[in-house]
């Protein structure tokens, strides 16, 4: 039997039960749409997050206090010594070290005259702007104190400056940070948001002053960037050895940007698969719809099956007829679902142009293949049942 005839006969059958076929197609379309939408969004989210993280450059090692036990931020050892500013400065002398950025973060009230704004306060050193690739719009960034207690200087994020000073000149003005008087020495260029965190709503002060302001004994993190010519592993090892020499034990944890990106990528990929699987559930529902409809169809067309057998159709031909019908239902559903998800994604990018979502033809092909597979799997049982019917009984069933 010719494939065009299979197609023709199957189409006449679908046409003769239009409403039922449409509903089944809709079921699959919804499933495919859910899978395409969710995986595309998941993939978009992954790219978005990775893009956000890689803007800091890739040759970064982050040091946190406490030894992580199984990666991530695990429990702290009892003997943990704080990471000191001196620890940070000592890393400067390591070969290939480029910038060293001690970090303490907190929040507090920033006052200028009678205006008050509560923002994040980051205590850091002079290398931060260069290391994190944050540009200074006006004035200068903080300077390192080199031993002595640093000057009460502050650098304002773009938004803080706007909120406190509006169009007024802020350089040289005095503000209060957590009640202490600071002089504004610089204003950062606008940076925007990163993962929902407003990078412009921050005030930067010298790390030693931040420690006493927040009443902390140690740093939250030290970031070390390094020059090209060495590997992440070698650099991490240098940092480790230096800090062990200072602390006596390994009571800190290191993570390189490479590792961080890799584990982040892995987490997000798993997330994408997981939400795609969630969409898969609706595809399963659609598949059950096909099975139900096909079982009903086979039952209703018993007499026709008997007749076809009587005029010489083989069991295999009967099976392909019904399997083809299931696959066709699923494929049409797949096409409809893809069109619909394309439309939705199109609208979504219109509404949120920053979302890095893209429909790749590879995934579309995969979705089509998936729907065909769903049709094939859900068609097998009804089709086998049709092929296995006793022709004599089937003919008697009118």
């Amino acid at each position: 039997m010719r494939s065009t005839d299979y197609l023709r006969l199957t189409l006449t059958s679908l046409k003769s039960s239009r409403l039922r076929a449409s509903l089944t197609i809709l079921g699959i379309a919804i499933g495919i749409c859910a899978v395409v939408l969710l995986t595309t969004l998941g993939e978009g989210l992954r790219l978005y997050v990775l893009e956000n993280f890689s803007q800091f450059g890739s040759r970064i090692i982050a040091i946190n206090p406490g030894k992580s036990q199984t990666g991530g931020t695990g429990g702290l050892l009892a003997s943990t010594r704080p990471l000191l500013v001196e620890d940070a400065w000592s890393l400067r002398q390591l070969p290939y070290a480029e910038y060293v950025v001690p970090v303490v973060q907190g929040s507090g009230a920033i006052e200028f005259g009678r205006r008050v704004r509560y923002t994040d306060i980051i205590g850091t050193g002079g290398d931060m702007a260069a290391a994190w690739r944050f540009d200074v719009a006006r004035g200068r960034f903080l300077a390192d104190s080199r031993g002595g207690y640093p000057q009460p200087w502050a650098v304002l994020g773009h938004k803080v400056k706007q909120e406190l000073f509006a169009e007024q000149n802020a350089l040289g003005q005095f503000i209060r940070v957590g009640g202490e008087r600071y002089r504004v020495v610089g204003i950062m260029a606008e940076k925007g948001q990163m993962l929902g965190f407003d990078l412009d709503d921050i005030v930067y002060i010298p790390v030693e002053r931040a420690l006493s302001l927040f009443n902390r004994s140690g740093l939250m993190e030290i970031d070390v960037t390094y020059r090209a010519g060495t590997t992440a592993e070698a650099m991490a090892e240098r940092v480790r050895q230096r800090l062990i020499a200072r602390h006596g034990v390994e009571d800190f944890s290191l993570i390189t940007q490479d590792e961080m990106m890799r584990s982040l990528d892995r987490i997000l990929a798993i997330l994408t698969v997981a939400i795609g699987g969630l969409g898969g559930i609706s595809l399963v529902v659609g598949a059950i719809g096909i099975i139900t409809i096909m079982v009903t169809t086979v039952h209703e067309r018993r007499a026709e099956i008997g007749l076809l057998r009587a005029i010489g159709a083989t069991q295999r031909q009967i099976m392909w007829l019904f399997l083809g019908e299931a696959v066709l239902l699923a494929l049409i559903g797949g096409v409809v679902g893809i069109l619909f998800s394309g439309l939705t994604l199109g609208l979504l990018t219109l509404a949120m142009p920053t979302l890095p979502i893209q429909l790749s033809s590879f995934y579309l092909l995969l979705a089509l293949l998936l729907s065909a597979l769903v049709g094939l799997i859900s068609g097998v049982l009804p089709a086998r049942r049709a092929a296995g019917l006793n022709p004599v009984l089937a003919l008697q069933s009118e």
Binding site: M1, T12, S16, A310, I311, G312, Q315, V392, L395
Partner: protein, 227 residues
């Protein structure tokens, strides 16, 4: 052409076994015209389904054109059905969503003949049966007599050697029944072997050879002397 030897078929009807065919011996020559008569439930349809390779015997043997078809597997029997046998049923068994032409060409579709060839052969047959005006009509737009003619056209489109008709006039008024019988006889006149089940003695009498069945047994086999 056909030889049945001690053919048996037993059905389970509830708890009770029913001997639908009880050690049937039968020989049919090529080109014969047989009618099979007998009370309802006597096994006429079962015999026809056996002859048409739709049903399989519990025991006994069946030769069709010197092939022992009772030894064939399912797909091989389908091939033999397609090549040698045409069925006509009381209930027509036309596919309602297909036009008369599409119904008639189905056997050719199953064997993979090209559309051009199919069209030519169906056109010829439609013309011959006086159905050319109805080629594109759906079954529900046709009268009973016309439907049965379409069913007959479908049965003979592949020029089978054996035509099996199970009460072909059972659903028809006497006038269109008459037309259908004449068509079947005309086909028999061209050489096709015709076996027709009927409960109508007048119809049955027209055949040159007449079988009577009861309780699955052949009880009478009558042949016109001049045949």
């Amino acid at each position: 052409m056909i030889r049945l030897q001690q053919l048996c078929k037993c059905y389970q009807l509830g708890d009770e076994p029913v001997q639908a065919l009880d050690h049937v011996d039968l020989e049919i020559g090529a080109g014969e015209y047989l009618s099979v008569m007998g009370p309802s439930g006597s096994g006429k349809s079962t015999l026809l389904n056996m002859l048409g390779l739709l049903d399989t015997p519990d025991s006994g043997r069946y030769w069709l054109d010197d092939i022992e078809v009772s030894a064939l597997g399912e797909e091989a029997r389908a091939a033999e059905r397609s090549r040698r046998i045409g069925f006509v049923f009381q209930a027509y068994h036309l596919i309602e969503r297909l036009s008369a032409r599409e119904n008639i060409e189905l056997p050719l579709v199953l064997t993979g003949n090209a559309p051009d060839e199919r069209r030519a052969r169906v056109d010829e047959l439609l013309q011959r049966l006086g159905l050319d005006r109805h080629a594109d009509h759906l079954p529900n737009q046709l009268s009973g007599g016309q439907r049965q003619r379409v069913a007959i056209a479908r049965a003979v489109i592949r020029k089978p050697a054996l035509l099996l008709a199970d009460e072909p006039t059972g659903n028809l008024d006497s006038h269109s029944g008459q037309g259908v019988i004449e068509l079947l006889e005309e086909l028999n006149g061209e050489g096709i072997t015709l076996v027709m089940v009927t409960h109508d003695p007048a119809m049955g009498k027209r055949a040159r050879r007449r079988l009577w069945m009861q309780d699955g047994k052949l009880i009478k086999d009558e042949q016109d002397a001049h045949a």
